[in-house]
Symmetry: C2
Subunit: 501 residues, 2 copies
């Protein structure tokens, strides 16, 4: 009888993926469940030798587990370094002290740098449940964080992970503040800037709620899951890289917060600025351009909001030692033609290879950003950036640099087309009045993007175009007929994705 | 090939209890998962014939499920009326429109009665995920709801479930605003008030985070899970009842919000008032006494807060047609000796039976509340309530009424003692200076209360008592040695539950 070790259980793997939240599954009739009760959201400390995590309890009332067993969600298993059949011990969770600071914020108190560091340390260590993360996000939503707090949060996020350094600068970077399908300028900008002789070690994210992140797009052409050592070698040889940021653990608190923030669809100016800037500083960047697309269905929807964001962002960047320039750009409709990893990659390649059918809007946006970065670097005569960027692109230097970076990352492949296509045609004559970015993104996701790399949308109806009945508005691409049907079912019930009359 | 029905799956039961949150388990390689993606907190509509629920997706990467199968958490299965082997269809979730009102509240907008009704309607229908519930709770936390909004929320909560009526009043009720272990006055008060000839159809809750709710305590002596019809018959015969409120679905939105609110440990005056008052009005009460224990480890910790709460509560009650009186009482330490269902029942019985060892503090508190209720009813000469209450208790009428109510509810049983006891003794001489209610409650819960009805604490060291080395401070009661050990392990690492020097 192991009465006094009622809190030691054998670990089983049952393969349930709860994404970032740690869940522990235990039988309702085990001693721990009996004492902790069956209430929602009971949190426990789970230890495996010296390692421990905090997990939320889900109670099992079936033979999924034996009395002496417990199971962990996929991520929790990894974080704890648990193995099938191993022993774990369960203990109750003492209150997480930084949560009292979250409560103070909710009740309107200003948080100090130290407070924010305590919160972010606990968030990074996985000590907050999803509802606790939601509490912090809501408490800091809207304009609840002032400028001092925004700076403090940025610093705390920078400190939460590793910080890269790349020797003498300038170290260039760019970032687009969300919300514009197909706006895949990064591969073009990085190629131009690296070809100009500057250093631009670009890390990018995968899609969270969008149909593609830059890392997803690059992955259709080259490996992006490089460790830090391989990333360094690529940058040393080519001056730039385009890798997935997740592999190098920059500002990990941010990844955790974003997962809940997106689910809530709550905008927090302070958190957004801290998120974006912390990633740049942690990546070792010294000079960065930020692109804020402005439009009725983009993330930022009014000029006043865009200008306020620009102002706050510029000052916060200065406070954490980053030379930043913020550009407000047109966010009225998708950029390029493709929405989805492979389809966007094809647009990027068309621009780089200077093909006849290259999307001009994508090309021009990339040139503006690349030109601004060249100017911001201070390495060229003032205001010559735009001209130099165009020269590098048109001469084919940018394409050669892109190809060389891909080769250094592990080889270049052409992105592949999807198995199934469905053309959406105009039902009557008209002029395109508006395009709903969010609905287009939704259709691309339902069609399988970004998991199915070739899935998504190719878009042919920019605002202002005259269409005749039967003209192609857009094409839905999917790898399976089931996914195609799923996307089309949504599309049929949602009218007005593209308005033309 | 069922390409176009990729969203129809066969339902399996896997017995995972996620408490109130609906979870759907689906294989990562099924068409729906592929299109919705693997992000956290993806929400889906799950339909079974005409019934549908909203559930959060957890992805399975194992043989727990076949490709064509999906499983639901225990509660979700019940809510959907699903059966093992049945067919369900999955579809994407359109945005829940009331969430935009929650966002507006977060950004500081005042909500109208209509806004609050829309939110509460969606909450009641289970359309909010836990993080969305957290967002509403945090958005309304502290003093973020003004008096108009508090009244609106109370009305919306009343409208969210059924509303009982009991014929001509007055219909009496009482409620204690949380946080004082062992404060089990309700059975005594109901017995006195019913014995006085008034109507008091009392519904009570089970414990959520405490070691016992009144329904848990009563259940050690009589059935409490009565449907509305049986409850009516008891009240018709005896004038009062003491049943579990969960069976009669009063203010169901409140139960949903409370589960997340407790997990966050966030106080929201507006929500608390709406919660308490909506339950009373929905129960058909016309006259109610509210007891606010005030103390350093009680729910309300300052006199100013207690007075503000009293004021807001009285005015909100008047606005929704409830005659309310609010009493601020001493919340410095546990009331009676028992903490845990059966142990508290024994205290109640000792008072009712007028036994020599009956806890005088519990007895006196019950008499104050019962006396106030008699006065509030307007059915007796002014200010005679206290005297009349004492007379009813001392004459044994209250005990006879209690016994009769239990018999009407299905029979009376004596509460049972636990199998294992551990005495905690004073380690030195001293005078008891303070008692940490929260730690005592925690120990009682770890020992198994309220699930093990006989588990808990009997407490023998009230503030001011002189203790000698070796005197009994309290006894821990548990049904299993594992649970006893679990409670003692916590107790040993937490010094200062009782301070004496």
């Amino acid at each position: 009888m192991e009465h006094v070790h009622g809190n030691t259980l054998t670990l089983r793997s049952i393969g349930i993926d709860t994404y970032r939240e740690n869940i522990i599954y235990m039988r309702g009739d085990c001693p721990v469940c009996r004492s902790e009760g069956f209430t929602a959201l009971t949190r426990l400390v789970v230890a495996n030798g010296a390692k421990s995590i905090i997990a939320t309890l889900n109670v099992v009332h079936s033979d999924l587990l034996r009395h002496s067993e417990a199971a962990l969600s996929t991520e929790a298993m990894k974080r704890l370094g648990g193995v099938e059949g191993g022993s774990i011990t369960i203990s109750h969770l003492d209150p997480i002290s930084s949560l009292s600071l979250v409560r103070a914020k909710i009740y309107g108190r200003e948080l100090s740098d130290e407070d924010l560091r305590a919160i972010i340390t606990d968030v990074t260590a996985g000590r907050y449940s999803n509802v606790e993360l939601a509490a912090f996000i809501v408490g800091s939503a809207g304009d609840h964080l002032n400028e001092r707090e925004t700076i403090g949060l940025t610093r705390a996020m920078i400190a939460s992970g590793q910080r890269l350094s790349w020797g003498p600068g300038p170290i260039m970077d760019k970032h687009c503040v969300g919300g514009l399908p197909g706006n895949r300028t990064t591969p073009i900008v990085v190629s131009i800037v690296a070809a100009a002789g500057l250093t631009i070690p670009k890390t990018s994210s995968r899609a969270i709620t969008s149909p593609a992140g830059t890392a997803d797009v690059m992955e259709t052409m080259t490996p992006v899951d490089l460790g830090l050592d391989r990333m360094r070698r690529v940058v040393e040889t080519e001056g730039g890289c385009m890798v997935w940021g997740g592999a190098v653990q920059l500002s990990p608190a941010d990844d955790i917060l974003i997962s809940v923030e997106k689910a809530l669809d709550i905008d927090s100016e302070g958190q957004m600025i801290a998120s974006v800037l912390s990633k740049k500083v942690a990546a070792g960047s010294t000079h960065a351009i930020f692109d804020i697309p402005l439009g009725p269905t983009a993330k930022v929807r009014s000029r006043a909001a865009a200008l306020a964001l620009k102002e706050r962002m510029t000052r916060t960047a200065a406070a954490v030692g980053l030379n930043a320039e913020v550009l407000i750009t047109d966010g009225g409709q998708p950029v390029g033609r493709g929405i989805g990893p492979a389809l966007e990659a094809m647009d990027v390649l068309a621009v780089l290879r200077h093909g006849a059918g290259a999307p001009q809007d994508l090309r021009e946006r990339a040139l503006v950003l690349a030109g601004s970065l060249l100017d911001l670097s201070g390495k060229f005569p003032p205001s010559t950036g735009a001209m130099k960027a165009r020269e590098i692109l048109e001469s084919g230097q940018a394409w050669r640099k892109f190809h060389a970076i891909c080769e250094a990352q592990g080889g270049f492949n052409e992105p592949k087309a999807a198995q199934h296509q469905h053309d959406v045609l105009a039902e009557h004559d008209g002029i395109v009045r508006s395009v709903d970015n969010r609905r287009l993104a939704r259709i691309a996701k339902l069609a399988g993007a970004p998991r199915s790399a070739a899935a998504g949308i190719s878009f042919h109806a920019p605002v202002g175009r005259m269409v005749r009945k039967g003209d192609l508005l857009f094409t839905v691409h999917a790898e399976g007929l089931g996914e195609l049907e799923y996307a089309l079912a949504y599309m049929r019930q949602e009218n007005g994705t593209i308005q033309y009359d």
